[in-house]
Symmetry: C2
Amino acid sequence: MSLRHGLLGLLAEGPASGYDLARRFQEGLNSLWPAQHPQIYSELSRLASAGLIEVDSHGPRRRTAYRITDAGLAEVKRWLAEDEIDYSFRMEPLLRSFFFWLMEPEDLKRRLAEEQQQFAAYAQTLRSFAGAKDRGEWGTSRRTRAQRIAVEAAIRVNEALAEWARWAEETDLMADENFGRQPSGPDAPPPEPKE
Amino acid sequence: MSLRHGLLGLLAEGPASGYDLARRFQEGLNSLWPAQHPQIYSELSRLASAGLIEVDSHGPRRRTAYRITDAGLAEVKRWLAEDEIDYSFRMEPLLRSFFFWLMEPEDLKRRLAEEQQQFAAYAQTLRSFAGAKDRGEWGTSRRTRAQRIAVEAAIRVNEALAEWARWAEETDLMADENFGRQPSGPDAPPPEPKE
DNA sequence: CTTGCACATGTACGGCTCTACATGTCAAGG
DNA sequence: CCTTGACATGTAGAGCCGTACATGTGCAAG
């Protein structure tokens, strides 16, 4: 449901082709909502059938630009005002971390160092991107400033996770003198698993 | 691909039924990787056909517990050691924020306050959950400690976003004296959209 | 004893998303 | 002139995910 509204939101800025939109998703928006081009093209067709967008112009190389309709603009605003928000998220590295106890301490340490580096590097990339906005290189419209705020969210999430990976690596929670030998003592059973 | 390994990881702790696993995903793991029961049951069938898990026992009410096989354990460890990690994530509230410029300032302010509250509340919930682990109520095995680290990641992400929402609300980036009137001045065109 | 609730497992279907494949166009450089 | 590469758009198919629907069981309270 979100890609649909993401496309509408981008088209609210002005007409664009599927190729343009795919590029925008690839660049700044990729950190907020990854999307590949096949999905974008098919979604555009659906939006056009629904009357939320319409063909704006044709260009060279079969280029087809779309324009948002009044209905489309109303729809994206409705979406933004909606009360029901899905706060859930999925991140594979976090799921993995739930099972870190299955890894050898050395491998784990290496892995955490690597993840820390990855998160920090990505945050850095986004931050320099945001820096360009802060220097006003893209203007200071309300739109630009809103997008700067969105990028800030992605930056902060990545920074938080870089910090987390460092913390996880440095805390001695994982250094288990008994690793590989029998359990060090009586351990409470897992909370759920009965049977 | 990840649910598969998540289930294997949980079964590495010991035998469990689909119902048990659905419960665990619902509870602590829900913040890391949401999953509904239909998906879990069908994935279990697939894992069993693949020989990564096998039926451990039958109980009342058609209860069927599974046990991880050696092949399954090897597979989950392979997954954990894998180099290719997908660092992407999707979060609807963040995508929305990219389009905040389409909202009325007042609605936006209200929205940000609400989001700040939601993120903070969820972080709080997870933190009290983690507190139980910290007090050793569930033992201090390597497994428990690893899971504590995983929960910490979710906590930090939510705290970071609560902070972000507060920052976004307080910064006057959104307070636009010109909202509703014509643009305040020449604005650079969007970076991408040619045409 | 019966009623309700938590337990326990599934099917069906539709929508979302990704990878791989396929096709053709225009511009620039050699 | 020919080749390369960026432009531009799609189809096919498979897998993942969520909602809704469906079914039956054991236990405990009244």
